[in-house]
C-alpha cells in the first residue's frame, strides 16, 4: 500500500465510520451549498426570464429612417440582421396613412399582424385577430365613434400617396384595447394596406428584444454602423425601468449570496472546530506517534475538502429545488437548470470549506501530544 492510498483510506474511514459526527459537518456544508446554488441560479435565471416578462410591455427598440424618408424593406432587413436571432421576440414593421370611414378621418396602420401580436402582447382584443384578407382590428375609440362591433362591415375611403382616390370594404375582426394611443388606430395586414395605398416603405419598425439595456445599446451601435439609412432608437421608458428593476433584484440576490457564503464559512468553521476539539485525543496520539504538522493538516484539510465536495454536489441537487421554490413562489415562474453552475457550486463549496477549515486545522497542529499520556 502506498502512502497516498493509506492517506485516502484514513480520510474515507474517518468520514464513513464516524458517520454521526461527519453528517453534522456535511449537513452544514450541504445547506450552505444549497442556499448558495439556489440563489446563484436565481441570480442568473430570473433576470433572463423577467426580461421575457418585460417584453409584455411592448417594443423596447425601434428602427426609423435616418433621413426622414420611409424605411425600405432591404434597409430594415439589414438592421434586423444585426440583432441576435435568439433574443428577438418579434419584429413588427408599420406603415401609417390617414383614411376615412363615413367621412370621418382615422389613422390606418399596416403591419405584420402576427409579429405585432408578439411585440404587443398587452393588447386586449375583443373578437379575433384578423386572418383573412379584408379583416381588420379597430381601436376602441374608433369603434365608439362609428359604432362598429366584431363582424361588422364598413367601407374605407381616402386617397393614396399618389393622390388616387380609393374605396374598399372591410370587416371588423376584433376591437383592440390598450389604454394608449393604439385605440385610435385601424390595424390591417401589410397586404391589405398595400391594396389601398400601394407599395411603400415603413414608417417605423418596432422590435421586441430580450436583452439588457447595455446589449440593446450595442445592437444600436451595430445597426448604425452596418445598416446605412437606418436610425435605431431604444425605447428608454421601457429599457431604463427594466434595467433598474433587474439591477436592484440582482444586487439584492448578490448581497444575500455574499451573506450566505459568510454564514456558511462561519458554520463550517464552527463545525470543524467542534470536530477538532472532539478528536483532540486522536490528534495528540498521531503527534505522539510522530506525525508531522503537515500530515495532521493534510488529513483534516482532506476531510474538509472531501466534505466540501460532497456538500457541493448535494448543494447542486437541492439548490436547484430551492431555486425552483423561490422561482415559483416569489417570481411565479420555474427556473431552468444552469449546467455551468454545477461545477462552479462544487468548486465554490470546496473553496469555502477549505477556507473555513484553515483556523480549526491550524489549531489541530497546536494539540500537545502529551495529552495521550495524561489519559485525556
Amino acid at each position: 500500500m502506498t502512502k497516498k492510498s493509506m492517506y485516502f483510506k484514513m480520510i474515507a474511514s474517518a468520514l464513513i465510520r464516524r458517520r454521526s459526527g461527519m453528517l453534522v459537518a456535511l449537513l452544514a456544508v450541504a445547506i450552505g451549498a444549497t442556499v448558495l446554488s439556489g440563489l446563484v441560479t436565481v441570480y442568473f435565471d430570473i433576470p433572463s426570464q423577467m426580461r421575457q416578462e418585460f417584453r409584455a410591455y411592448g417594443a423596447n427598440f425601434i428602427l426609423v429612417s435616418a433621413n426622414g424618408e420611409a424605411l425600405g424593406a432591404a434597409e430594415a432587413e439589414a438592421a434586423v440582421a444585426c440583432m441576435p436571432a435568439s433574443e428577438i421576440i418579434g419584429i413588427a414593421p408599420y406603415r401609417y396613412e390617414t383614411v376615412k370611414i363615413n367621412e370621418q378621418p382615422f389613422m390606418a396602420a399596416g403591419t405584420d399582424l402576427a409579429e405585432a401580436k408578439k411585440t404587443s402582447p398587452y393588447w386586449f382584443v375583443s373578437g379575433e385577430w384578423p386572418e383573412a384578407d379584408g379583416s381588420v382590428l379597430i381601436g376602441q375609440e374608433v369603434a365608439d365613434v362609428i359604432r362598429l362591433l366584431p363582424g361588422s362591415a364598413f367601407t374605407m375611403t381616402g386617397t393614396d400617396p399618389q393622390g388616387e382616390a380609393f374605396s374598399r370594404d372591410f370587416r371588423v375582426s376584433g376591437i383592440v384595447q390598450t389604454g394608449g394611443t393604439e385605440e385610435a388606430f385601424i390595424f390591417m395586414s401589410l397586404a391589405d394596406f398595400a391594396s389601398v395605398m400601394g407599395d411603400g416603405g415603413f414608417d417605423v419598425v418596432e422590435c421586441s428584444i430580450s436583452a439588457p439595456q447595455a446589449e440593446l445599446e450595442a445592437i444600436a451601435a451595430r445597426v448604425t454602423e452596418r445598416a446605412a439609412g437606418v436610425a435605431p432608437r431604444l425605447v428608454t421608458r421601457v429599457t431604463r425601468s427594466e434595467g433598474a428593476v433587474l439591477t436592484k433584484l440582482q444586487a439584492l440576490v448578490f448581497l444575500v449570496t455574499a451573506v450566505v457564503l459568510l454564514l456558511t464559512m462561519i458554520c463550517v468553521a464552527t463545525t470543524m472546530m467542534a470536530v477538532v476539539a472532539e478528536r483532540r485525543g486522536e490528534i495528540g496520539l498521531k503527534k505522539a506517534l510522530g506525525a508531522p504538522d503537515g500530515s495532521i493538516i493534510a488529513e483534516f484539510l482532506g476531510e474538509g475538502l472531501f466534505l466540501g465536495c460532497m456538500g457541493g454536489i448535494l448543494g447542486v441537487l437541492f439548490g436547484f429545488g430551492f431555486a425552483q421554490i423561490i422561482g415559483v413562489n416569489v417570481f411565479g415562474r420555474a427556473v431552468h437548470f444552469q449546467a455551468a453552475l454545477a461545477p462552479a457550486t462544487v468548486v465554490a463549496s470546496i473553496l469555502v470549506t477549505g477556507l473555513a477549515c484553515l483556523i480549526p486545522v491550524r489549531s489541530a497542529t497546536e494539540v500537545d501530544p502529551a495529552v495521550v499520556l495524561r489519559g485525556e
Binding site: M6, A14, E282, L285, K286, G290, P292, L373
Partner: protein, 228 residues
Amino acid sequence: MYLLDLQGVSKIYGSVKALQGIDLTVARGEWLAIMGPSGSGKTTMMNIIGCMDKPSEGKVLLGGVDISAESARNLTTVRREKIGLIFQQFHLINYLTALENVMVAQYYHSMPDEQEALQALARVGLSDRAKHLPAQLSGGEQQRVCIARALINYPMLVLADEPTGNLDEANEGIVIDIFRKLHDEGSTIIVVTHDPEVAEEAQRTVILEHGRIARIVENRKGGQEAKV
C-alpha cells in the same frame, strides 16, 4: 554508551518542581520499571523521555544524542524514528481497524506495509482480529494492538505507560509475556507502573518520590537496593 542518559534533569512548572535533579542511565536491551505515587513525577519523566516535553534543566541523551534542547519539530522526528509508545488507555484510532491502526505508525514513519503490519499483529497473537475495529476488541486485545503499533517501526526504545493498568489478570499476563519476549529479543523497555508485580518483571525499578529518585531496586538480583 548508554541508550538513555538523564543528567541532572529537572522540570519546573511555575512554582511546582515536578522533577528535581534526575540522574539515570538505561543500557541498551535493559528493562526498567518506574514506580511512584501520584504526583511523584512519573508522567513528567515519561513525557521527557518520550520527547513530548523538554526539561527545564539538565540533559537527556538518547542514543548519545542530546535531545533536551531540540525543537518541537525535531522531537517529533525523534519520537517517530526512535520511540515506541504504549499507553494505559490504548489510544487506538476508533475508525480504523486493528491492522490500519498498526499501519498508521508505518505511514508516519516511512511506508505502510500491510504484510509487515499483519506479522506484527501475529506477533501479539491477533492475526485473526486484524480487520476488527477497536470497539470490537477486548481491552487486552486493544492493548496488544497498541503494542504491535509501538513495535512496527523497530524503535530504539519502547516506552509503556501503565500498560496493564486497564487489564484483567489474564490479559495482564499476556502483555507481560509479550514484554518478556521483547526483552529476550533485545528491546530496551521502560515501563511506568503502579503494579509491583509488573515492576518486578523488570531488571531494575526506579522509585520516584516528590520528583526525585528515592531508590532503585535491582529486581533480578533479589530486589537489592542500589545507590540513589
